[in-house]
């Protein structure tokens, strides 16, 4: 350090930065929410506006199976992290593989419209 000396550091009154992980995840959620709120607003704005169709129910279907796969993958990846913290590497590998499989099913499952994927992701 050049220049003037600085007051000595006193660990007892240290102000700690908030966790980068929590701040980063909060920022990601806020940004994603801002994007998808606009999509939902556009959807609601045009709901029932088309006199000739197709209406949303004509092109959208609830992708129940793929949604279950998508949501389940959140649990398997969390389980993988927990397993890694406990140093259970085999279980971690199994859960990570399950996550990849569930993700692959979600992305690769046949569907009538790409819109379904967007709705499920939203």
């Amino acid at each position: 350090m050049g220049g003037t000396a600085i007051l000595p550091h006193n660990p007892s009154d240290t102000w700690k930065l908030p966790s980068r992980g929590i701040v980063g995840m909060a920022c990601l959620i806020i940004a994603e929410a801002a994007i998808f709120i606009i999509f939902v607003v556009a959807y609601v704005f045009y709901l029932g506006k088309s006199p000739t169709g197709p209406a949303p129910r004509d092109v959208l279907e609830l992708p129940i199976f793929t949604t279950i796969c998508l949501l389940s993958s959140s649990f398997t990846v969390m389980g993988a992290v927990s397993a890694l913290k406990k140093n259970e590497r085999n279980l971690c590998s199994l859960l990570l593989a399950s996550t990849v499989l569930l993700g692959a099913i979600f992305i690769g499952a046949p569907r009538t419209s790409g819109i379904n994927r967007s709705i499920a992701m939203a």
Binding site: M1, G3, I6, H9, I30, A31
Partner: protein, 340 residues
């Protein structure tokens, strides 16, 4: 604010891309889409964006004005609250850009006072900066001169902003040069002036050399005169009916003399910026050696060498107040005795 404001623009651009390349019609009015929806989405981004740009300028002012007034900043908690208030309020006032598109009287009546509310925290900031200057031992260095210019011009920009937030007034001037003059008062008169101030203030810390003061003052005065010639007089053709985005007009409109003054101001500004660029280069090689703390400032960066070493501080410093270097220089009367 960035995370909240950029998202709507991203989503709107995705929909626009679908319109252009995938046969969708979100915003295509010929196919049942809505251009007004695009305007909403754009301005949900566009208005907070102005504050995203200006909040760093406020931060520069908060640093520079107290140092050259030789006083601690006045009303720090109110300053912080005003900054947060501006951030939140700016996210809910977008439709005052859309008074003339036919939102209806109720929507206009709602958004008109909403926008005026933002003037409250903004004026708190102006008041606090003025109160910081009041009774201070003001040093008119180049960064301080730009900061004083910022104060005056930001006040004018805010006042014309309030004028434009009044729906009947806005109806007369939306899409005219008055609006162009208003937002250039914000972008140039406030933001760019504080960017210049910040350059003069922190250049010594970045390079180890002080930007030369004489060309700095030439830069300030030429840019100030040019700015006011351009953007003060730009309001007038707007009031006289000159619309935005036109490249020529008939000679008998009465706008010629005003546009001549506007253009002459641009020449002053350009010369000022050229002097600034020259000063940046010249001072980098031959400017006065800055030392660690050329402004007798109070924040931590001025306690390190100029430019700072890669590791900044060998040990983590302890900060007991908002002016830690003041505390170190004045152990008999540190701020930490007064601050919570």
């Amino acid at each position: 604010m960035v995370f909240i404001a950029i998202g709507p623009l991203t989503a709107a651009q995705i929909m626009l891309m679908l319109d252009r390349f995938a046969g969708a019609y979100f915003f295509d009015t010929q196919a049942g889409g809505s251009a007004v929806l695009w305007m909403h989405f754009f301005w949900i981004f566009g208005h907070p964006e102005v504050y995203i740009l200006v909040l760093p300028a406020f931060a520069f002012a908060n640093e520079i004005i107290p140092v050259f007034s030789r006083k601690a900043i006045f009303g720090y908690p109110a300053m912080v609250a005003a900054t947060i208030g501006i951030g939140f309020i700016s996210l809910s006032v977008w439709a005052h850009h859309m008074f003339t598109v036919g939102l209806g009287a109720w929507a206009n009546t709602f958004f008109h006072p909403r926008h005026n509310v933002i003037a409250v925290p903004t004026r708190i900031k102006i008041f606090n900066w003025l109160a910081t200057l009041w009774g201070g031992k003001i040093h008119f260095t180049v960064p301080m001169m730009f900061s004083v210019g910022f104060l005056f011009q930001f006040l004018i920009a805010g006042l014309t902003g309030i004028m434009l937030s009044v729906a009947p007034f806005d109806w007369q001037l939306t899409g005219y040069y008055f609006v162009v003059a208003h937002f250039h008062y914000v972008l140039v008169g406030a933001i760019l002036f504080m960017i210049f101030a910040a350059f003069y203030y922190w250049y010594p810390k970045m390079t180890g050399r002080i930007l030369s003061e004489k060309p700095g003052k030439w830069h300030f005065w030429l840019f100030l005169i040019g700015f006011h010639l351009t953007f003060d007089f730009m309001h007038i053709p707007g009031i006289l009916g000159m619309r935005r985005r036109i490249y020529t007009y008939e000679a008998d409109r009465g706008w010629m003399i005003w546009n001549l003054i506007v253009s002459s101001g641009a020449i002053f500004q350009a010369i000022g910026v050229l002097i600034f660029v020259y000063n940046l280069v010249w001072s980098y090689f031959k400017g006065l050696i800055a030392g660690a703390d050329p402004w007798d400032a109070w924040t931590l960066e001025w306690s390190t060498s100029s430019p700072p070493r890669a590791y900044n501080f060998a040990t983590i410093p302890s900060v007991g107040s908002r002016r830690p270097l003041w505390d170190l220089k004045h152990p008999e009367d540190p701020d930490s005795n007064y601050e919570m």
